[in-house]
Structures are given as C-alpha cells and as structure tokens.
Amino acid sequence: MSNKKFSLPVLGEVDRRTAVKAGAVTLGLAMLAKAIQPVMEWSSNLTADEFLQKHYKELKPKELDVVIKRLQEEALHEYGREVKIKNPQAKSGVKYAYALNLSICIGCRKCAEACHLENNHDRATHNSYIRVFEMQKGGIDFEKGNCTYDNPVPAPDKFYMPVQCQQCDNPPCVSVCPVEATWKEKDGLVVVDYNWCIGCRYCEAACPYHARRFNWTKPEISPKEINPNQGYLSNRVRPQGVMEKCTFCLHRVREGRLPACLEACPTGARVFGNILDPKSEIRWVLENKRVFVLKEELGTKPNFFYFFDK
C-alpha cells in the first residue's frame, strides 16, 4: 500500500485516513445543520415562552396571567391595537343553548357579518363561524342547499338555515383531538386552546356540521377593526395554523351578555339562554315549540335547536 498524499483546502497535504475523517466530519456537520434547521426557523416567530407554555388546564392562575400579558403585548406589536384579553369562567347552574326560528329567518347573513366583526376574523377571507344555507322548501336537504347565494332574500319558495357550532354534548371534534387541545367546558361550550392546538385538522374532519375553521394564513385585520374585548378561549386573534370555532361568544355570554349573532339578527329569529333555568326564554321555546336538532341520528346531542312556527 502506498502512503499517497492528498491535497485538501484547509488541511493542506494529508494522508488518506485524515482525508476520509475530514469528509465524514463535514458531512456530519451538514446533516446536523439540516436537522436543527426547523428550530432555527421557529425562533424567528415563536418565543421560548410560547414554545414552553403549558396546556390551558395545567396553567396556574398566575401563570395564565403571564401568558395573557404576553398575548396582549403580542397583539399590540403585531396588530397595533391595545387589547384586553379576559378569561371569564363557567358558572355553576348555567348551560347555554340556542334556538333558531326558521320561519322568521330571512337569510340576510347579518349574523355571519356580526360574527366576522366580533370574533376578529381574517378580513380577506371574510371568515365567519356561521354559514347560512338557502334551502328548498319542502325538506331539509343540504344537497339542494346553497350557501353562496347573493340574490335578494327571502327568495320565493326558499327558507334559510344558519349553521354554526352546535356545542354538542357528545362532541366528535373533542374525541378525535390527539393532543386534547379542545374540550367541553362545564357550561356546555366547546373551546380550543389555540396555543396547544397542533393544527392537524382532525376535528374539522370529525365535525358533521362543518363548524370548525382552520387558519391557513395569519389573520389580517387593521388596528381600527380589531375588537379589543377578547377572551383567551374565544375571540382573541388566532395564530396561523390552528383551528378555531364558534363559542357562542364565550367572552360575552359568560359576562351575561347576548351573543353577537343574536344582537345582530334583525328579525329576532334567535333565542339564547340558560337551559338549566326553567324560567328562561330558551326553555319556553323547547317546551312550547316543535324543535329539532340537525343530524340527530349521529348522536352528537347538539345544544342548538331549530324550529318552525307553523
């Protein structure tokens, strides 16, 4: 065997063994760089605090305060608006339910519009948690329904059916979540911890009402249009790549206020209230109107009821 010498850029003239070692080290370093590349990329838009944040339910009140303070600072920095993120808690003896009078609804989409504004949705996609279907009278056939209508409403021989999260008692979206980033609160609201969601979209696929939305892009809203009254589990501006959903305006209803979609309804088709209060409006509707739920056969047990007057 000849002791042949190689000429390498930095090491100069070396023997074969050293040359192979140098090659291996170079390759190793290159692979390491490639392997840790995602971490380097993350660091640009993901702070260590955010990365290390615990699940909502594991956060102690003090830790949550820190998280909320950070989120408020981020909102100011990224959206140029001073916001107040609150975290109102479920009250005992309260369970929310919604009813919608299909005889009255005219399909004006004012509810979807109000949702868009209240819940800080992306302006470009005009996103909303409410999808209004224009339905053929004579049955409830979504195959014949249309939610892109732009004709004057109500059109002859049509009825209108707004569909949003049904806040199911047996929510399929919750059971499929692999990381428990979504759950049902004591007052019946199904919520998402946007900081725990990994964006796998299983819940979107599982929901038979198509009530969940995915943030494909970072929501764009001008500072003026941001709704500064926000909730950690509801309408704070969601990050890119996470799921979001209707929470019956959790930040409003837990403070006793009516949801934004109800206040916006010009015909008064919507009835909201505490289903555990026998004197509530919602209970009167359930006891006196012929209510039905969507896709009852699936056993999701919705807390959203529909009814016709006649």
């Binding site: 005219i106 249309n146 007057d309």
Partner: protein, 225 residues
C-alpha cells in the same frame, strides 16, 4: 339556618348543655337582630325567601316605544331651514273621517305617498278618527296612545304576541342574564311597517369565502378533474 337542639333538663349540669344553650341564645339574638318580626320567622320559609332574593332579577327589560302621535311634514321650511311638521289634528280636527278608506287607498291631499298592504284594514281600523287621529283605536272602540301600539297589534296577532312575551319573537340586545345587566327589546313597529307589515326583501350581507362554500362543480382548476 343553624338549629340548636332543645336542652333536656336532666342534663342541665353537663358542659355540653351549657355550650348548647349558649349557642341557642346566640342564635336567638341573631334572629332577633336580623328579623324585626321574629314570630313570623319560620325557618324553611326564610331560607326559601333568601334564595329567592338571590335569584331575583335585578335589571329590567326595556321595550322601545314609539315617541307618540306622528307628525306630518308639510314640505315647507321654517326660517331656520328646518322642515315644518304638523300634528294630525291640525287638519283632522275639522275633517270628518272616511270610514271606507283602505290602507294604501287613493287620497287627493296629504299621505298620497303612503303605501299600504295590511289585509283589509281601513285607516280607521287602527287610527282613532274621533280624537283627531291623535290616538289609536282598539277593536272595541277604546282609544289607545301611540306609545302602546303593541297592544293594538296583539289584538289580531296573538301567536306573535305570545311568542314575543316569552322572548321568542323580535330582536333584542343587552344581557341574557338579567342579574348582570338590562335588556332592550324592539316593539312591533320597529321591524314591521304597520301599513306594510311584511318584512321587506333585502340584499344579503357578504358571506365567508371559504373553499367549501361553492359546490365542487363550480370550481375550476381544482386538480380533481
């Protein structure tokens, strides 16, 4: 409500009974101080009342009301440039009501622009011609101020009024939980034009443009052809 068991005389010297009678005296004092009429205090009732007070609704539901008798614009402007309006009885005090005239009927002077389509009602079905049209007229002939218009509508539209009274008809804003805040509700004529009560056709607001909104057959270039 704390209950102190009745002391039994045979145990009068035991420490336990001393303690119990002390508690009883304190409880009695508390009852005397808290409630001015102790003879009316029956424990279960009092507990009930206390919880009822907690559940009592603190805030009211305000129903919007029309301002009062309407006034009619004369088309003239006053020296400040403000339109001149006149009260109904300015003209109607000297004119006798026409009981035949239908809502939306032809008039030679005033109210010509008033379109109407409300069943077979005539003007004087609801407007009180006997009082210079300054009030409304119930079906039994009694007059009703304009502010109480809902009572007039309820005469014929019972089911709607029943639903309204139970919060299942008509728009509202404010609080679902009246212990936390008030609620404002519309009245009938906020949404329904009394002369043309059918809700008008409107242009819908823009909907979300998510990709599931359009049917797959409308979409071009999705790569699924």
């Amino acid at each position: 409500m704390p209950h102190a068991p009745e002391p039994v005389p045979s145990f009068a010297r035991s420490r336990m009974v001393k303690g119990l009678s002390f508690v009883l005296v304190i409880a009695l004092l508390a009852v005397l101080l808290l409630f001015p009429k102790p003879q009316s205090v029956v424990v279960p009732e009092k507990v009930q009342t206390a919880s009822a007070v907690n559940e009592e609704r603190h805030f009211e539901t305000f129903i919007r009301k029309p301002a009062g008798p309407p006034s009619v614009k004369t088309g003239l402007l006053d020296p400040h440039g403000q339109p001149v309006s006149v009260a109904c009885n300015t003209c109607h005090a000297t004119r006798s009501p026409n009981a035949e005239l239908r809502v939306g009927g032809n008039l030679s002077t005033f109210h010509q622009g008033l379109k109407g389509n409300h069943g077979n009602l005539t003007c004087v079905s609801c407007h009180n011609g006997n009082e210079g049209y300054q009030t409304l007229r119930l079906a039994d002939g009694k007059s009703l101020p304009f502010t109480e218009v809902m009572q007039l509508c309820a005469q014929c539209h019972g089911p709607q009024f029943r639903d309204y009274s139970h919060g299942a008809h008509g728009g509202m804003t404010g609080y679902w939980d009246l212990t936390q805040g008030p609620r404002q509700r519309n009245n009938c004529i906020d949404c329904h034009d009394p002369h043309f009560p059918k809700y008008p056709t409107v242009r819908p607001a823009q909907g979300p443009h998510d990709r599931f909104q359009s049917s797959p057959h409308d979409q071009k270039g999705t790569g699924h052809e």
